[in-house]
């Protein structure tokens, strides 16, 4: 069982319009709704790979109920979300059919009270000892202390469970100091954390700040991993073009999936790169193309870097 934590879960709503014209009225024909927030996306990919996954975080209001109804329908996924009085946020994506571009409106999320935050921590402490890995994903809703991830990392480490952190800004800065087993930043998050736009230097700096291993996603160039066992670059066999939504969450799912199976780093990285590419190539945002994934896993180039930085 893998545990993913999504403190700011969301109901992701997508509208397709012919062309978004500000200050006019648009009728949409089709409405797509699905559970959102990075940790829920990671869980859905893990479940599709055949893993048993428990999701926790917060849920509230009618939007939270919709999210939970959809999660319950996913085989292999266990809902352990903790109720809050405020409603789960919505994210609105308005897809412009003419340009293919998306305009995004994100609600802030419910304000979590100290009592609700305590209730979550207790639930998390009960869940952690029985899982093989934990992923802490995404932004913090209002009311949750900015050092939240640091505490959750310490709880997992005290229980001897490996923990991956995928967040940004101050939550990342505070979280990394608690020594997560894996940090999964993209290049922007890594630069914000370390001040360096040079990935090799930045991943090494992130390790010095506390992360045991750092897997940086470099977009089309794949992954750069700096770990206690060595340094690797993993690149897709060909450049992929498509919708990058969810590609980062698929990297996390690939890393966790291989970690849960106790595979070595090169196998973890090839799985993560193949899954990410299969997500970019899928027509539906955040889904992955299974055939592409299976075909690409053995074709990902993983090269060990031996040069000193």
């Amino acid at each position: 069982m893998i545990l993913t934590v999504t403190l700011n879960t969301a109901l992701d709503i997508t509208y397709r319009v012919r062309s978004l014209r500000p200050h006019t009225s648009h009728r949409v024909g089709e409405v797509t709704e699905r559970p959102g927030g990075k940790g829920l996306n990671v869980a859905r990919v893990l479940a599709a790979l055949g893993h048993e996954v428990t999701v926790t975080g917060f849920t509230g209001g009618d939007t939270g109920r919709t999210v939970q109804d959809r999660l319950t329908a996913v085989p292999g996924l266990v809902d352990a979300l903790v109720p809050v009085s405020g409603p789960t946020r919505r994210t609105i994506a308005i897809m412009d059919e003419r340009s293919g571009d998306t305009t995004q409106i994100n609600e802030p999320g419910p304000t979590v009270t100290p009592a609700e935050w305590s209730a979550f921590q207790e639930a998390y402490e009960d869940l952690v000892p029985s899982v093989s890995a934990v992923a802490l994903c995404g932004s913090l809703p209002p009311g949750v202390p900015v050092g939240a991830y640091a505490g959750l990392i310490r709880t997992a480490k005290a229980a001897g469970v490996p923990v991956l952190l995928d967040t940004s800004g101050e939550a990342l800065r505070r979280g990394v100091a608690a020594r997560p087993d894996i940090l999964k930043p993209n290049t922007d998050e890594l630069a914000e954390l370390t001040g360096s736009h040079e990935p090799l230097r930045a991943t090494q700096d992130a390790r010095r700040r506390g992360a045991l291993a750092v897997v940086a996603s470099l977009g089309k160039e794949g992954l750069l991993a700096t770990t206690p066992e060595g340094r690797w670059r993993a690149t897709p066999p060909t450049a992929v073009h498509g919708n990058p939504t969810g590609a980062g969450d698929s990297v996390v799912a690939g890393l966790l999936s291989a970690l849960a199976e106790q595979l070595p780093w090169p196998d973890r990285l090839s799985r993560a790169v193949a899954l990410s590419a299969a997500t970019v190539l899928s027509p539906a945002a955040g889904e992955f193309d299974r055939d592409t994934y299976e075909e690409w896993v053995p074709r990902v180039a993983v090269t060990r870097e031996v040069s000193a930085a």
Copy 2:
């Protein structure tokens, strides 16, 4: 008791953004949600005026549950919405704080099945005999026959209950032929129905098509009423500037409120104009300023027109 019918109820969601920039991401600080659809807006104004109101129409899904929770909180308002399997639609208004303009995204609404439409008609037939007036408001959701309002008008008339129709397009064209007691079009709807952009000629034409009385809302110029008892123009004491959202619904509420109190036409019109102006002047969209309303009722100029068209 007044009955308002909203076949395509909505959850109206308003987001405020500094400036809407297509193809970028926006975080919103504040989210406003309220029950929507013309008939629900009319009911809320009637309840605020002290009337007892029953609302019917369709409700479904988690959005419908949110709408019903909010309606239940309004004193004097009775929820008689009929359940459908599809979810109540959302309307998204994105308010640009810099320009004050609004970008609107409207979902289509649930597809109503023949069985659900039959269930509604039965519920409506049970409600109508015990009310003093009926208002049929807004667009039809997918699946409801385009002649729906004609049937509902005949049911009300058979029960001897006066019925007001406020809709547009083909639903209006088909509805007017069933001889509603009051038709409340705006100038665009009236022109679409009659082909004439000259309000006096158009209201007379609308009466020939079946409406017993026609009250056309002419925006800032107030109302033009063509009725069996005569023709009147009602104009606000001064031009009003503000947010016109809900002004038409306030006209309907004013007409129904005075009709339920069996007031003559000039009193109905002054109430409708004052309420509409008090809605435009209110800072919150769709709310009305009670002081303005009470102060303006006696100041609305209602003049009888005696000239032949």
